[in-house]
Every structure is written in C-alpha cells, then in structure tokens.
Amino acid sequence: MHHGNPFSENFRISRIIVIFTAITCCVLLIIFTRLIRPYELPHKNLIAFLFLAIALSMVGLVLLIARQSAEKDKAHSKKENKDYWNEAHLRALLNAAPDAIFITDGTGTIHIANALAEKWFGYRKDEFVGKKVEMLVPEHLRQAHIEHRNRYNQNPSTRIMASGTELVGIRSDGSEFPMEVSLSPSMFGGELWITASVRDITLRKEMELAKLHAQTRLSELVTNLPVGVFRICDSDLAHFQEVNPAMVTIFAAQSASQLLASSLESLFFDHKDWSTYTARMAQQFHLNSLEFRFRRLNGEDFFGFLTIAANTINGETVYDGILEDITERKQQSERIGTLNKDLERRKTQLEQINQELESFSYSVSHDLRAPLRAMDGFSSTLLTDYQDQLDERGRDRLLRIRSAAQRMATLIDDLLNLSRVSRTEIAWTPANLSELANGIINDLRQANPERKMEVKIQPDMQVKGDVRLLGIALTNLFNNAWKFSGKTSNATIEFGCERQNDQTVYFLRDNGAGFEMEYAGKLFGAFQRLHDIGEFPGSGIGLATVQRIIHKHGGRVWATGEVNKGATFYFTLKS
C-alpha cells in the first residue's frame, strides 16, 4: 500500500509524532526536576521554568497540530469521502467482485490484486505487487502484450468485457486458461492507473465448444442419415430450400442444387399424389408417413414415405421433413407375401396329404384286415367242419394259410403303429420307465405263463416324454428280449440306466440269441430281420418303431450283441 491512500496515512503518522514528542518532553521535565532537586544549583528555578515552558510550548504545539490535522482530516473527508473512510469497504468490494481485478500503474506494474486474482492465478497478494502484469500471460505472448499495453497507454479508453480480447492466462503452476480482460483507465495524482478485470472463461469456452460439437454432430447426422431430410420454406412452397445428401441420392440428382431447382410438383409421379400432398399440407401443415409415388430426376418412379412437420424459425414458417425410399422394402414385402402364399399353399397341400394318409391308414387298418380274417376264419371252419375229409397235407396247407394270414395281420398292425408314431405329436409329461417296464413284463408273464424268466428292473427311472410312445418303444424292446431269450435256459432280462459322458443311458440287456455285431447297423431298419422267421417270428418293424420314438424324444438308440450270448439295447432321451 504505497500510493494507495496517501492522505489519511500521512495525517495519522504526523499526529503520532507530535503526541510522542510532547510526552517525551514531559517525561524529561519530570526526570530533570527529580535529578536536580538534591543539588543546590544556581538558577535552579529558572532552569525548571525553562523546561516547563518548553514542555508547555510542546503541548501547545501538539494541540495546534492536532487541531490543524483534525481540520485537514475533516476537510479531506468532506472532499473525498468514499476513498477515505470506506477503504476497508472498498477492499471488501474488490474481493467480492466476480472477476479477478488488478490495478496497475502506467508501466504495467501491479499495485493491487483482489482475492479472485489470488485464487485464479495461484499467487499470494504480495507476490503480485510490484510485478509486471506480463507475469499473468504465458512466456510466448509476453512481448506482444507489452506492445499491446504500450499502444493502449497512448490512447487509453475503457474497454468493457463484451469487446474484451480473449487472452490466455498462466497460473503460478504453469497451467494456462482462457481469459477475458476488460480495462478501465483512470488518472490520479497526474498518473495513469489502469484497472483490469480478468474473467476465467474456461467453462464458457468449454460450453461454446460443446455447443459447436453438438451442432457439428447434428449436421453430420443429417448429412449421413440414409433417409432424405429436407426443408421447405413458407416463402417458396414449390421447391426444397435445403436437402441432405440422401435426398440427392434418392432423387438421382447430379447435385443438391439440381434438386433444389426442381419443382416439387415434378417430383411426384402421379398428379393425384401431388393433389393429395398439397391438400393435406393446406389443411394440416403436416404429414405423417404418407406413402407417395415419386419420380426421380432420371425418370424412374419409386415409392416413399413422406413425413413433414411445420416449425417456426425466426418468425418464418418452415416445413421440415423426411423422405424414405421404400422401394426395396415394398419389393421385399411383396416377396414375403409371395413366399407366404407359397407356404400357405404347401401347408394346405401337406395337410391334404396328411389327411389322405390318415384315411389311407384307416382303410388299411379296416379293409385289409377283413380279407385276412376271411382267409383265417374259413380255413379254420374247413379244418373243423371237414376234418374227416382232409388228410395231413390238406390240414398242413390250411394251417399255413392261417399262419400267413395272421402274420400279415401283425405286419399291418405294426406298420400302422410305425406310421402312427411318426404322425404323433409328443405330449411331454413326467413318465416312470420302471413302472412302464413292470407293466409290460406282467403282460408278458400272463401271456406266457410257461416261461421262466428272471427280470431285474431298476426302480424309479423318472424321465420326461410321451408316456404312450415310450410305452410302445419299451414294449417292442421287451418283446424282443422276451422272444430272443425263448430258447435260453436261465433267461434273464435286465433294465436299468447308467451315466455315460454326462448323459443318462438306459439299457435293456438279455442273455438270449444275440446277433452278429456286423449287422448292428441294420437292426433298426424297417423290415430288417436278422433271424429266420421260423426261428423267431416277427415283422421286422418293431425296432424301426423304437428308433422313431427315441428320435422323436431327441435321443439315440443303439445296440451291442454277441451270437448266443445276448444283446443289449441302449437309448437316451433329451434331458
């Protein structure tokens, strides 16, 4: 605070000096009178008087000076009221300012800096004072700043923030920030003083940049959009005012300007569409995804969805819209339509075929059996009613007819079962394979009470599947095991499950006739038989049916075997 407030400071100091001198004189007088009292000195009283006179005159002088200074103070405070008694207030105001404030003299030397100046630039107040303002700008800008300052000094004027130059400031830690500076010159005591307000505009800069980026992104978006974006202005409803590149592409124009020059009417393929468009625009000022047929500049036509909304920009009405070329989509939906029709037709065909198959199966089941029944039945009556007239050979031939008829009946039933399995939709429910197996074994035991058979069935094999179909599959497998161990003593059937490669594998093992492994692959084909009919009767359809059922359950079926040792059939089910 050197030049800050010279008046008030001087007065205070002179007052203190005068009072101090007066007190000193009084003290000296007292000391002196005490000191000389014991001595007999000539003119002792004169000397004391002299001292007293000096002291009194000093007091008088003090009073005079005090009065003078009080008068001066009074006069000054009248004249420069604010500067004088609001100095602390002024300082508080400076510190409360929203900007960093520096007061410099004409040489650019900083005399005063406020609190924000300390905060933003990272210096203490006393680090500013006496330094050139160039300390606040980065090294490479300092020379230019000096020149700038000198130019300003030649013609100092108030330069407010709005017209302020954007400068770069440097903090004590070397970091830089954008700042805006306004300057106001003042003359005081014949000297030029400059008040500089500095504002940190980092945030504003960032916002401006963000806004610019957003605008850029938005315009990039419009430019890159694959749909046509356009603007029509109220003052010229016959032309586009702005179009994006997609519009140029859609209309097959050479350039945007070519498209802008084309009349909107010419871009509608049908006049009817143009009428609709103008009518709708006149009524509602907007369109929502209306389909029109347009004409490209090369004469081609295309279908497009048009959406338009009215906006007011700077008091003028504009119509912003998007146009989507739907030619491809239309073609696709036409293709899908054709495909769907095709599919529908095929579905109907398939349903017809299925229906025919159903009625065919029904006929087979019903009509093919009747003649067989006649063959068997009449052979039987012949055998009974004419047994006297038939010799051994005749009876044998009739028996053969009966046996053939019955075999064919079984064959028909098996075939029907197989086709039924294929047609059946699986009804997934919980199923207990162990229970199913026990039931089948009971039936077999009842049908063949003479057979001795050891059966081991693992209890509680719970699965998910179609109970009826699984029953048919197990019946076929157990029938096979039962049949092929018919000539085995100590015949044993074992049904259980085991874990193989993280999968439950069910198996049915017998110690019967078995089969040669080289034919294992043929086991599951329809009408495939590995044994003579005379030896083990059967249609050769059972295992084919088993395979179809297991496949329908998402599982696999396979078998291992050895002649006269037995066979094991394995299957899995979808878990």
Binding site: S361, Y362, S365, H366, D367, R369, A370, P371, L372, R373, A374, D376, G377, F378, S379, S380, T381, T384, R402, A405, Q406, M408, A409, D413, L416
Partner: protein
C-alpha cells in the same frame, strides 16, 4: 339262451358269415338279424322302411355294430339310436376292424357299451363271439321296458 334277438350290422358278407359261424360254434341259438348298412339298422330299430310295422318294443338284446358302413356309418347309427327316447338305452357293442384311437374315443363318446376289435385269428374271434353271446344274452340285464 333266451329268445332275444341279436342285430348284426355288417356290410361284409364274409364277416357276416364268420360272425354267424362263430356264434353258432358257441351255441348261441338266438335269432340274428343282419342289417347290411346303417339305414337298414335304423329301419330295424325304429320299425321303418323295410322293417315298417315291426313291434319296436321288442328290441334286440344287443346290437353288434360295425363302424364302416355304406349309406350311414356306424357312429352315425349309434348317435341316432342314443338320440331317440325309445332306443337310448339299447346295448350297442362296436365290433370293428379298426383300432384307431379316434374311433374308440368317438365310439365311447357317443355312448357305446363296448368296443371289440375283430381279431384276424379265427380262434380268437370264436372266443370273442362266445364271450359276447354269454355276456349280453345271459349275464347282462337289459333295461326294463320304458
């Protein structure tokens, strides 16, 4: 056996003959009336057409009904028998070649008393005919006149 009749509805002459043979072999001496299509069967039941004037209070002990019949099929015949007050309790046994689930379900839905599949094996057929005769002519008590 009693004097009750049996109505056999059967279009196939072979099956008709076999059924008659089987019943005879089982010593079922009751009169067997044969209807060769659905219309004839209904005429017999309701005393119409070929059977007009018949005393319809005297109904057969059992109707052995084939499903696949000319003109009106077996299930339709069953439906009409059940729909008529006079015959709604008439014992009807479906005797057919079909073992289609659908036929069995529809047969029972329409109120069939039994569903018997004609076996190809005549020995089995004999057994079936014997049991049917025994059951429906002797064992079963028909509904009283109503």
């Amino acid at each position: 056996m009693n004097s009750k009749t049996i109505l056999l509805v059967e279009d196939n002459p072979d099956d008709e003959l076999l059924t008659l043979d089987a019943l005879k072999a089982n010593h079922v001496g009751n009169a067997v009336i044969v209807a060769r299509n659905g219309v004839e069967a209904l005429d017999y039941m309701f005393g119409t057409g070929k059977f007009s004037g018949r005393d319809v209070t005297d109904q057969p002990a059992v109707v052995l009904l084939d499903l696949k019949l000319p003109k009106i099929d077996g299930l339709e015949v069953l439906h009409l028998i059940r729909a008529d007050e006079r015959t709604k309790f008439q014992p009807v046994v479906i005797l057919t070649s079909s073992n289609e689930d659908e036929d069995r379900i529809r047969g029972y839905k329409l109120g069939a008393n039994s569903y018997v599949r004609k076996p190809v094996d005549f020995d089995e057929f004999l057994k079936a005919a014997g049991q049917l005769g025994l059951y429906w002519l002797l064992l079963n008590q028909p509904p009283p006149h109503y």
